[in-house]
Amino acid sequence: MKLITAVVKPFKLDDVKDALKTAGITGMTVTEVRGFGRQGGHTETYRGAEYKIDFVPKVAIDVVVDDEAVDTVVDVITAAASTGKIGDGKVWVTEVNRLVRIRTGEEGADAV
């Protein structure tokens, strides 16, 4: 199985979630994160003193899926999260050796 991690713009979360639902994904885990990248942050002045905010708010979405589902899911996310502007984010895929559903102890595909 694979873990797909997508870092996207916060206001795109709903779109991505809905897209994944329609694609038959039944679960995901979301984390508020801060991103540093090409998009860059912006410089503020606070009471006259400057300060640079390098990080911009992002949302990370973790989805564990069967191997065969990976490509579709990646495409679905990419499509739903894209605005064409710098800072849209990344998607990366890592290997999952084992997945367990706590409630039932089911493993692998059944646990998704």
Binding site: E44, T45, Y46, R47, G48, A49, E50, Y51
Partner: protein, 456 residues
């Protein structure tokens, strides 16, 4: 000279005669207070309540403009200012300030022992009313410094500072002025009959502001405030809503601070209130314009300072100027505060909330502004048109200046000595590690915003 002052004002309204006329009973029963006497005391007490509420305003402004990891410490210091400050005021502060007419310091009424609290002298205030109103002023004066010393001061050291400030340093300033001491008696040049500081731009705010300056100076800047090139870095406050609500509460409280300083319920209460209102909005307005031009954004954290700057600036002159000059005085305060903040940032005095600029600098400006704009007799001046712009010449301005210098000298020396002693004994500043981790956990063992715990 508050007493004579109260009397002066009354005569200004037609003289003690009229007062008696109003209440025949007093003619044959001097000891029966009149409704006017009750009104005077009730009003000044209510004003004192508004001033007391400013404690919450100070706490919110300071907390809002500092970091979440130190928020408990901020509130603890403000609570301590009220608790320790009033206790010290009760023990000896009031006695030093108003206990007898010694030239240098009062010497009676410690712990209010054997005071006739209730009796109201005709046309005046009872001891109880004076103690209450002046006591909440004292608590305000000390609280001013806590903001400038935020995020790095040892709690125990701060407590001692707060104690000494309300026990002796501030009371002496009050005794010399409102208490009828040597500034009230001897500081008047040429045509000037007396200093004037109606509600305490200098006596309260500049005193607090200079203590704040010395505190920030002896503490040194917070870790990370300046980059390797010594360029100041912003350390944004963690809760702007707190800061703005705090400003509104302070503004609200100022309507007790200034109009209440009339110490009577007469027609000048409302004129003082109008001047206070106009100076506040002018301070906010011109501060906003200035920071918008300079920084390119209407920085709300600065605009809040601007409103307070306007309020501090008019605190001395609110009893003697016309509405438009009040607007001007406040507006100048609003511009000055911006550059003062920049200046102290530049010379590496790290004042997280701008207390030195708001209370120290604008406090001094407020006292001086009387020398320029004074028109009416506020019962300190003892004459009309005392201001330079009203043909009063420079004498009043000079008098005001000397008053500023005397208070500044006294507070600088005493607080300087105090901070020096603290620094070289128990220490003034927390460890670098503690400062980085935040003062809340290590000083107070309490998180400002604890996550919900569930022990299932």
């Amino acid at each position: 000279m508050r007493n004579t002052r109260a009397l002066r004002i009354i005569s200004a309204l037609g003289g003690v005669v009229a007062v008696l006329a109003i209440v025949p009973s007093t003619a044959f029963a001097q000891d029966v207070p009149t409704t006017q006497d009750y009104l005077n005391n009730i009003w000044v007490f209510i004003a004192g309540c508004l001033v007391f509420f400013m404690q919450a305003g100070f706490a919110l402004v300071e907390a809002g403009l500092t970091r979440a990891k130190n928020v408990v410490n901020i509130f603890a210091k403000n609570m301590a200012d009220a608790i320790v400050g009033i206790t010290a005021w009760f023990a000896c502060g009031y006695a030093f300030a108003f206990g007898g007419d010694g030239k240098w310091i009062g010497d009676s009424a410690f712990f209010l022992a054997d005071q006739d609290m209730a009796t109201i002298p005709s046309g005046g205030l009872s001891v109880a009313t004076t103690f209450f109103f002046q006591g909440v002023f004292a608590a305000t004066a000390v609280t001013i410094a806590s903001g400038a010393m935020a995020e790095r001061t040892k709690f125990s050291a701060y407590l001692i500072f707060s104690l000494v400030m309300c026990a002796i340093i501030y009371p002496v300033v009050v005794h010399w002025t409102w208490g009828g001491g040597f500034i009230a008696q001897d500081i008047n040049f040429g045509d000037a009959l007396s200093y004037s500081d109606f509600a305490g731009s200098g006596i309260v705010h500049m005193t607090g502001g200079i203590a704040a300056l010395m505190g920030a100076l002896f503490l040194g800047p917070r870790i990370g405030k300046y980059d390797e090139n010594g360029k100041p870095r912003a350390i944004p406050g963690h809760n702007i809503p707190f800061a703005v609500v705090g400003v509104f509460i302070l503004w609200f409280g100022w309507f007790g601070f200034n109009p209440g300083s009339e110490l009577l319920a007469d027609e000048f209460v409302s004129t003082v209130a109008v001047n206070t209102l106009l100076a506040a909005v002018a301070g906010g307005l011109f501060c906003a314009i200035t920071i918008w031009l300079v920084a390119g954004k209407p920085d709300l954290a600065m605009i809040g300072n601007g409103v307070l700057a306007g309020l501090v600036s008019i605190t001395a002159g609110c009893g003697t100027v016309d509405p438009f000059p009040a607007f001007v005085i406040g507006g100048i305060g609003g511009v000055v505060v911006v550059f003062a903040v920049f200046f102290f940032d530049k010379i590496k005095i790290d004042d997280p909330v701008g207390a030195v600029s708001v209370h120290g600098v604008c406090g001094a400006w407020g006292v001086l502004s009387i020398g320029l704009f004074a028109k009416y007799d506020d019962a300190f001046l003892g004459r009309e048109d005392a201001g330079l712009f009203y043909g009063g010449g420079v004498d009043q301005l000079l008098t005001q200046l000397v008053m500023v210098l005397i208070i500044a000298a006294w507070v600088t020396v005493t607080t300087g000595a105090l901070f020096f002693i603290l620094k070289s004994t128990i220490g003034l500043r927390v460890s670098a590690e503690e400062e980085i981790e935040g003062l809340d956990l290590l000083e107070h063992g309490l998180q400002g915003y604890a996550p919900d715990t569930v022990h299932a």
